[in-house]
């Protein structure tokens, strides 16, 4: 009988946590797992949409499993983590929301290409910027203007993409950056202000020698 006690406590907690998790998943049109003590998925509920692919599915299981391991290690903090209250069950939704405000647009004529990037560039969205820059450089325009004046967030990964762009542009393409106050500051902080040709706007970058 003595052995039963902790087991029941575990089940009570699991039921309460499962109910909360379901509510959260419904609210966020996410997915919700209920796990056995050994971290195997005993029940799975999907609300709003199905998982994008098996990989995402597997990844969620792995994350939940890790949470349980940490829970054991940190004693009473496990309750918060294990109940799935501590974090968003559907972070991909949040990351995908970046797509509404973040994007890149390329226009070009014979002499000049202008790539405009808007929104937030972090580890999730920077690959978009990298791909667009590579595409812009493919035809080796004499001048490539990167208009970054409407960038709202620019992490070190995105700064890295600019350095990569400069290296890829080499001697063939002259790279010019249009930056607002925000990015001008970041570029200065990482010591790259002298490395790039900086302009306050895309039109300044274009008129500087008659384009």
């Amino acid at each position: 009988m003595e052995e039963q006690q902790p087991r029941r406590a575990h089940h009570d907690m699991k039921d309460a946590a499962a109910s909360q998790g379901r509510d959260m998943a419904r609210e966020r049109t996410g997915e919700h797992f209920i796990k056995n003590k050994n971290a195997q998925v005993s029940e799975r509920n999907t609300y709003g949409h199905d998982p994008l692919n098996a990989l995402a599915d597997q990844r969620r299981r792995r994350i939940s499993f890790v949470c349980r391991l940490v829970a054991v290690r940190h004693g009473d903090r496990c309750v918060k983590i294990g109940s799935m209250q501590a974090f968003d069950p559907n972070p991909a939704g949040d990351a995908a929301a970046l797509g509404d405000t973040t994007g890149v647009n390329l226009r070009r004529d014979s002499a000049v290409a202008v790539l405009t990037a808007r929104g937030e560039f972090d580890m999730v969205t920077t690959p978009q910027l990298q791909v667009a820059i590579r595409e812009a450089l493919l035809e080796a325009p004499p001048v490539l203007v990167l208009d970054l004046t409407e960038v709202a967030f620019f992490s070190s990964a995105a700064i890295g993409a600019l350095v990569e762009a400069r290296d890829a542009a080499g001697e063939r393409t002259e790279l010019r950056l249009a930056v607002g106050h925000y990015l001008d500051r970041t570029v200065k902080l990482v010591g790259l202000r002298a490395v790039f040709a900086l302009y306050p706007s895309a039109s300044d970058a274009l008129v500087s020698d008659g384009y």
């Binding site: 994350i63 918060k80 972070p91 972090d122 070190s156 890295g160 993409a161 990569e164 902080l189 990482v190």
Partner: protein, 143 residues
């Protein structure tokens, strides 16, 4: 209910969150920090710096603390007049930065050091604690 759960306690001075250290979760957490910063009427360069420095600390954890598997990252944000303090804690081991990383890597740590007024990185066997503080001039009392 706020996604941060218990973070609304203590007169909303604090934001506490514990998340899987993955790129997607870190983006979601960055948005929570940006909301918290706005809720505290922190604006301009300070607001931008707190968001960027916090993101760099979080993403360093996602990239370097748990090379083999996903781990957990803890965030604690604290604000009182004249002080903003962000603490990012992981339970893994940061890999030493490469000498000449180039490309996408290697600019996170310089930003963590340059953006706040003061930054410390304590690497121990049990994990790494990044503490970043800002000392903004207290806002003027209302007339």
């Amino acid at each position: 209910m706020s996604p941060a759960g218990e973070s609304d306690s203590a007169a909303n001075h604090e934001l506490r969150a514990c998340r899987p250290a993955s790129v997607e979760y870190v983006t979601a957490l960055r948005h929570e920090v940006a909301d918290w910063v706005r809720a505290h009427q922190l604006t301009g360069d300070l607001a931008a710096d707190v968001e960027l420095a916090t993101y760099e600390a979080l993403i360093n954890t996602a990239k370097h603390a748990y090379p083999d598997d996903a781990g957990i990252v803890d965030l604690h944000a604290h604000h009182q007049p004249g002080l903003v303090r962000i603490t990012v804690t992981d339970h893994g081991r940061w890999q030493p930065p490469e000498p000449d990383p180039g490309g996408l890597h290697g600019r996170g740590l310089p930003l963590i050091r340059a953006l706040p007024d003061h930054a410390t990185i304590d690497a121990t066997e049990l994990g790494t604690i990044v503490t970043m503080t800002w000392h903004p001039a207290p806002s003027m009392p209302r007339a």
